[in-house]
């Protein structure tokens, strides 16, 4: 583990020497053990709820702080005066840069990658200072109009809170690693008011595997945080979606076009970030003090004509869903939001990409819907449907989380009627994005920051090797159980040195030629015709078991049987260590 000073911590013994304890302390300890002590598993679930509650509360405060900051800096109007639009993001950008460079050094970026790095590199350690830094700097950046969102920082704050609690409770290293994603799910769920999407995102992007051990806690934390958030900010979905329905399969052509447009736009956005971010980071250190301010100025200039692109832009998405813009305006907003968000993000201003991604998707979707409405004369409601589907489609193409994107559209809007078009458009955008931008956003961001984190996308698509991929037929090494003479006859006919025998009483056993010879000598010396005991019982494997599980079970046995799950006596094949290694080499 990296220490605060950058050194390598040398582990020390965890046990403390026996101490003299007073009578009172003895009683306290006894009572504590009897009444309060929780097993780590139970403690973990209690902690998940606590993390959810605290994360929910912090996210509520965070969202309110962003709004208050916006009122103070930009005013309550949706069209602030040009002077404010120019000055607020510029000056706030400078303040944010100072905070990030001097006080909260780990608060840069969106927060997703930092959380992932904490899980994979720092044993789940997210410093609490990062939580405070993220809260302050993101509220200032987003509230002043930087084109960023509050969701990814909420995710990191949740992870930070969880990590702090885990450290305070001195959880095991394994649990410490698991607890950060639990907090991340809680933070994201509260920020999005969407527990299912948050859980799936954390599994899909941060943990990478559907581990049963952590899934329950992740869900518990996400639900707890959403319950708390709804208690304070209301239970309405994030967007008010007008009535819409999927009428005919012919409409899917339009949604397929939307998938292509979103795919192309997401590639452009990804390339922009991939190109400019490392170049701006390479500039002299002093420029990093002014980069967020310069980004703020550029966004302010855009904001004079298009104030909608400033901030997270949720109210504008709502307007797009209610057909409040013509398709040209929607297209313009989508393109300039890509530019504004790209500028904000590459400048190092802290803030998330989720809200801008939804914004861009909604605008591009609405624009495609508007054009389709003009060409095909479909009802005006179709524009809103395209905007809704577009949110998920761009999300799938840009962030490369296809499952999350489908659930998110349904959950954020509370509308499940557009699932089919969403799935189709999302898949098209996702495949286009993968085809032309091989490395996913979070993967190349991590590499640019010097972290070689596992690519969840690759992990997700990795083929799991199973026992059936490595086993070989058991013919020639299986003996029918019988008396020693019978076994000997069969063994003499075989070239194998080891044999497997099934015995009803004690399962599969292994018998070697040596065992058979020894038994023969014993019998020739006058012993009765006894059963050869052999060694066992052997662990038994099944063809569908993952190979790494087989590797753990095989132990020192030269060969183990692979049996049918419905009939343990029936041998499907045999597996030896060499077979496993060969299968891994081939894969």
């Amino acid at each position: 583990m990296m220490s605060a000073t950058g050194g390598v911590a040398a582990p020390i013994a965890a046990d403390s020497p026996p101490r003299e304890a007073g009578r009172l302390e003895q009683l306290w300890t006894l009572w504590r053990r009897k009444t309060l002590t929780l097993r780590e598993g139970q403690l973990f679930l209690v902690l998940a709820v606590a993390i959810g509650i605290v994360s929910g509360l912090i996210v509520v405060c965070f969202r309110i702080t962003i709004e208050w900051t916006r009122f103070w800096l930009l005013g309550s109007s949706m069209h602030p005066s040009p002077l404010r639009v120019l000055l607020a993001p510029t000056l706030a950008g400078f303040g944010v840069a100072l905070l990030v460079m001097l006080i909260f050094k780990r608060s840069r970026g969106s927060g997703v990658n930092q959380t992932k790095a904490a899980v994979f590199i720092f044993d789940g350690h997210v410093p609490f200072r990062t939580v405070i830094g993220k809260f302050v700097t993101c509220a200032l950046a987003i509230g002043s109009g930087q084109s960023l969102g509050p969701e990814d920082p909420s995710l990191q704050m949740g992870a930070g809170i969880a990590s702090a609690l885990g450290r305070s409770l001195k959880l095991s290293r394994e649990k410490q690693r698991l607890i950060a994603p639990i907090g991340a799910a809680a933070g994201l769920a509260a920020a999005f008011n969407a527990p299912i999407s948050a859980v799936i995102f954390v599994i899909e992007e941060i943990i990478g595997t559907w581990s049963g051990g952590v899934l329950g806690a992740v869900i518990l934390a996400a639900i707890s945080s959403v319950v708390v958030m709804r208690e304070f900010l209301g239970s309405a979905p994030m967007f008010r979606v007008p009535a819409m329905e999927f009428r005919s399969p012919v409409e899917l052509i339009g949604y397929a076009v939307l998938g292509v447009v979103s795919g192309v736009a997401s590639i452009a956005f990804l390339k922009f970030i991939a190109y400019f971010r490392p170049r701006l980071k390479q500039l002299p250190r002093w420029t990093q003090y002014i980069q967020p301010a310069a980004a703020g100025l550029l966004i302010g200039i855009i904001g004079i004509w298009l104030p909608q692109v400033m901030g997270s832009g949720y109210p504008i998405i709502d307007e797009a869903l209610h057909d409040q813009f013509l398709w040209r305006m929607l297209l313009l907003l989508g393109l300039f939001k890509i530019l504004a968000t790209g500028i904000s993000f590459v400048s190092g201003a802290p803030g998330g990409m989720f809200a801008p991604t939804l914004f861009i998707g909604a605008m591009l979707g609405g624009a495609v819907g508007g054009v389709e409405h003009l060409l095909v004369h479909r009802p005006a409601e179709s524009v809103a449907a395209f905007a809704l589907v577009g949110m998920g489609t761009f999300f799938a193409g840009f962030l490369r989380v296809p499952i999350t994107s489908v659930f998110m559209v349904a959950e954020l809007s509370g509308n499940y009627s557009m699932i089919l078009p969403t799935i189709i458009a999302n898949m098209i955008a996702y495949f286009i994005s993968r085809r032309y931008q091989h490395v996913a956003l979070f993967d190349f961001l991590a590499r640019q920051d010097g972290f070689y984190l596992p690519s969840i996308e690759q992990m997700r698509e990795q083929n799991t090797l199973r026992v059936e991929d490595a086993m070989r037929p058991g013919a020639g090494i299986v003996l029918r159980d019988g008396d020693a003479a019978e076994l000997r006859r069969e063994a003499e006919a075989s070239a194998s040195a080891q044999f497997l025998v099934w015995r009803h009483a004690n399962g599969w056993r292994i018998i070697s030629q040596d065992d058979i010879r020894k038994q023969a000598i014993a019998e020739s010396g006058g012993s009765s015709n006894e059963e050869i005991p052999g060694r066992g019982p052997l662990p038994q494997l099944y063809p569908d078991q993952p190979l790494d599980e087989a590797l753990r079970l095989i132990g020192n046995w030269p060969v183990v049987p692979v049996v049918n799950r419905a009939n343990l006596e029936k041998l499907e094949g045999v597996l030896a260590l060499d077979d496993i290694l060969q299968a891994y080499r081939k894969s």
Binding site: A4, V8, S16, L57, H322
Partner: protein
């Protein structure tokens, strides 16, 4: 990296370990052990959660109050702009108000109205349809949609939404609003020349007009009845409108014209004279008044006339019609090329010449039924002259009208 290069760090508290120590003095102090026990941490966490809960509640309350205040502030600004005719500015204000109060149906509705006022019908329609989906029986939304549909020529939708407005739920003054919606629907139908449906809607409307404070509605209904030529229903509406202390001049005018169209010339004269005095006179009123007076002066069947006067009028009317017939026949003989009408005129002239000697004062007194015979011939002569020589004027027109209503009544 050699271990000696880095200070050894306690993995729990992060403090450096003293040289040679195997235990962290910070973590293993009694106080530290108590402070870092799971029970203490969980208790502290619970305490922090409680404090944070109240703090968040306090912050949230302030935030919601601020949002509410901002929503109201921008809504009022929008209302002011909309009333002063600046729909574009009102739109922005309503949009901003909605950001702070997204679920406020009133703001959403006013926003849609502002969109419609700004001629952004498709956007307004989309907004209203969204609102309607949530509350299909909302009458104001139906009415706004009906207006947009009417402006865009979507007749079927217009009728559907107007009926939605008439039978829907009004938050305030449901009766008056329903009547106004039906009145608006009737106007729409009249504008589309769908007079039979409009007549049915108006008949339904007048049956619902309240007894008190309904004068204005009665007058409007009367106007609409009159526009579709239903003077029979128009006149009672105007009569009802005139029962108030200070009736409108328009009601007086309408009543006069309706009575005139129904052949109630005495009543028509009364109303039309009153309208003339109230300076609401126009060409229609003047013409109707003049004709009414002529009819009253020429009609032998007028109630209250003495028999002598009735006979005198019949003689006078006959002379007038015969004179017009002769003039027309003379004129027609010079210009007409068609044989048939001329033969009618000739036949009627012959009949008139035959009848004229019998229309003496004495003969009429002895045979009162001759008045009817004379008047029937008067109508026939006037009609024939009109057919042959064009529209009747003055007293001839009055005689035609008397004949028309007389025959209609019979």
């Amino acid at each position: 990296m050699a271990e000696g290069d880095n200070p050894r760090i306690c993995p729990h508290c992060g403090n450096p370990l003293p040289a040679g120590a195997t235990q962290c003095p910070h973590c293993n102090s009694r106080l530290s052990l108590i402070l870092h026990s799971r029970e203490t941490v969980l208790s502290l966490t619970a305490a922090i959660v409680i404090v944070l809960f109240f703090l968040t509640g306090f912050i949230t309350r302030g935030y919601h109050e601020k949002l509410k205040a901002l929503g109201e502030q921008w809504f009022e600004a929008g209302e002011r702009q909309l009333h002063s005719g600046n729909a574009g500015v009102a739109l922005e204000d309503f949009h901003t108000a909605l950001v702070y109060r997204p679920d406020d149906a009133q703001i959403q509705f006013r926003l849609a109205e502002a969109l419609a006022a700004d001629h952004r019908d498709s956007e307004a329609r989309a907004y209203l349809l969204g609102l309607l989906a949530r509350n299909p029986s909302d009458a104001p939304i139906n009415l706004a949609l009906a207006r947009i549909s009417a402006a865009n020529g979507a007749d079927a939708d217009t009728l559907r939404y107007y009926h939605g407005a008439i039978y829907g739920v009004w938050p305030k003054n449901p009766e008056a609003n329903r009547l106004n919606a039906r009145l608006e629907l009737s106007r729409f139908l009249i504008g589309r020349n769908d007079t039979s449906i409009a007549d049915a809607e108006l008949i339904a409307l007048v049956s619902e007009i309240p007894e008190k404070h309904g004068a204005e509605l009665h007058a409007q209904a009367g106007d609409l009845f009159l526009r579709i030529g239903d003077a029979k229903h128009a006149l009672p509406e105007y009569r009802s409108a005139l029962t108030v202390k200070h009736p409108s001049a328009n009601s007086v005018r309408g009543a006069g014209l309706a009575a005139y169209q129904l052949g109630e010339y005495q009543e028509a004269e009364r109303y039309l004279e009153r309208a003339h005095r109230l300076r609401t006179s126009d060409a229609d009123v003047t013409s109707a008044l003049v004709l009414s007076r002529l009819v009253i002066s020429a009609d032998p069947y007028l109630r209250g006339l003495s028999e002598a006067e009735r006979r005198t009028r019949a003689q006078r009317d006959f002379a007038q019609a015969f004179s017009r017939l002769q003039a027309c026949a003379k004129k027609g003989a010079n210009v007409s090329t068609s044989a048939a009408p001329q033969s009618d005129l000739v036949a009627l002239t012959s009949q008139a010449k035959a009848l004229r000697p019998r229309l003496t004062e004495r003969n009429l007194r002895l045979h009162p039924s001759q008045v009817n015979v004379a008047m029937n011939l008067v109508y026939a002569m006037e009609n024939a002259a009109t057919t042959e020589c064009g529209e009747a004027q003055g007293i001839d027109e009055a005689l035609t009208l008397i004949g028309k209503f007389r025959q209609g009544r019979e």
